[in-house]
Symmetry: C2
DNA sequence: TGAGTTCTTGTCAATGTGACATTAACTGTC
DNA sequence: GACAGTTAATGTCACATTGACAAGAACTCA
């Protein structure tokens, strides 16, 4: 079985690097027809996850979305994002966009994927410039979302709002562009990564009980975990330190508080 | 412990999408100073792995590199790559660049990462436009490399040559730009992925013995594996079909040939 | 025919995991 | 103050997975 793909080109010449300035950029660009021939432009978007109380009481994953005020997809919800300026790194651009659009500073951020399919632009937009999006995904703590949520995220706008990330928990089934697929992929990455990497801590505050940590895993994975086995597995985990404090106030034996001592961002 | 990062910007306004044409593109761009303010341009590079006999006899991972004929890093080896044209998807661009620069059509290809750090350009190049590279990694079968290798990969050039991927096996310790780090990251991805995904088959032909498959794993992982345990683990693997053929010619019991029946590209 | 090689199957101990029982410690009520 | 109710924390057992290794099977070569 042979893959679909380009056949070998025997007479082709080796083109090293070719990192110079594209020729189209050296000229002035006037009309729409020429704009379609432009090299793709770059944008940065971010999928931000936070834990908030879900519709059935148990915590679920939410994400902030931005309502589009222009065509295409005017009125629909989209991932926060914006263009990449020349003076910042990709991750810095993601953080800056996050702060500008949602007022959030994530505890964890990681590159997800570069989306550049040809069918990303809306069909009605003839001659629109093609956009390649480098998408990041990030985690913010629940207390941060509470603060930002009270003041309407970025301060005053109604064009930024939290939504459940998963359509199975009341999230929007469709988003602008291909953002629904992007969010699904980010969900998959988070669910994979929480099983082997120290990621769940970034959704919690400085100190937490093992039950809270288990709730984070349960909310992300979408299934309940055995408390005893969960505790046993964490016994061998590095960077998880038991403190001398206990969480009191519940009508049961007060659980011990733990602290994450590992790196705060990967 | 709080992450270093941008503080929340309370007065910031929500900037949805912003996927229009950057303003700098609407004007003619004349001088070098303005060029530094241009939005970053896009390039695609690919790390291609193939198994070839190593220096100690046992097969090791090799990759084709392209010698740079221009500054910066003139004369050094770099990953094959080139600019992204507007009419193709990211993966298609990677395949096309691969065919043009090396004459190879990979059996497996997957996006690795988007590199866009600010320190990627050479220091001597003042005002050079910033380049964001979307890097793919690919696997080609050994028989393909033998054919391409005999004719000098792309046909005639000495500017394309195979090198061991790992410096520990004789590979180049430094490459142009940040390509050494990129290759190391691709090696890490391959080593992680071979342990849980059906990836090793793409380095072999249509039919192979379990010993050959084990040699692939050993070469990638860099350690020897127990033949009996390796066989047992593959028993539970899907898409691995035993054929009625045996590989004869060795001076020992002829081993059974197997076939991979799963998808050829992920 | 027998030595040498690798293929192939089988065994055993150590380890990890899921399921579940049991004790510990606190709150609220009678 | 005893007791029920709740969750925390520990312990136990069966089962699956894994690493290490033994042993028979099947071929080639001298």
């Amino acid at each position: 079985m042979v893959l679909p793909g380009l056949p070998a080109v025997p007479g082709a010449r080796a083109v090293p690097g070719a990192r110079g300035v594209p020729s189209a950029l050296s000229r002035g660009v006037a009309n729409v027809a020429e704009r379609a021939q432009l090299p793709p432009s770059l944008a940065i978007s971010t999928v931000i996850f936070a834990l908030r109380p879900g519709h059935e009481g148990c915590p679920t994953l939410w994400m902030p979305l931005v309502r589009r005020v222009r065509e295409p997809f005017r009125g629909q919800w989209a991932l926060p994002g914006g263009p990449l300026t020349a003076a910042e790194s990709l991750e810095d651009a993601a953080r800056r966009n996050l702060a500008e659009t949602t007022g959030l500073a994530p505890a964890y951020i990681e590159q997800l994927y570069a989306f550049g399919g040809l069918r990303r632009a809306h069909r009605d937009e003839v001659g629109a410039q093609r956009v390649v999006s480098i998408v990041y995904w990030a985690l913010v703590r629940a207390d941060e979302t509470a603060l930002a949520g009270q003041t309407g995220l970025a301060g005053e706008q109604e064009n930024v709002a939290w939504h459940p990330a998963d359509p199975a928990h009341g999230g929007p089934g469709t988003l602008a562009f291909d953002h629904r697929e992007i969010v699904d992929y980010a969900l998959w990455r988070l669910r994979s990564k929480i099983e082997y990497a120290q990621v769940a801590y970034h959704l919690l505050g400085e100190m937490f009980t093992l039950a809270q940590l288990r709730e984070v895993h349960e909310a992300v994975l979408g299934r309940s975990l055995d408390p005893a086995n969960f505790r046993r597995q964490l016994k061998g985990t590095p960077h998880l330190e038991a403190t001398d404090h206990y969480l009191e106030g519940g009508r049961h034996r007060p659980p011990r508080l733990y602290r994450y001592t590992g790196p705060r961002s990967l």
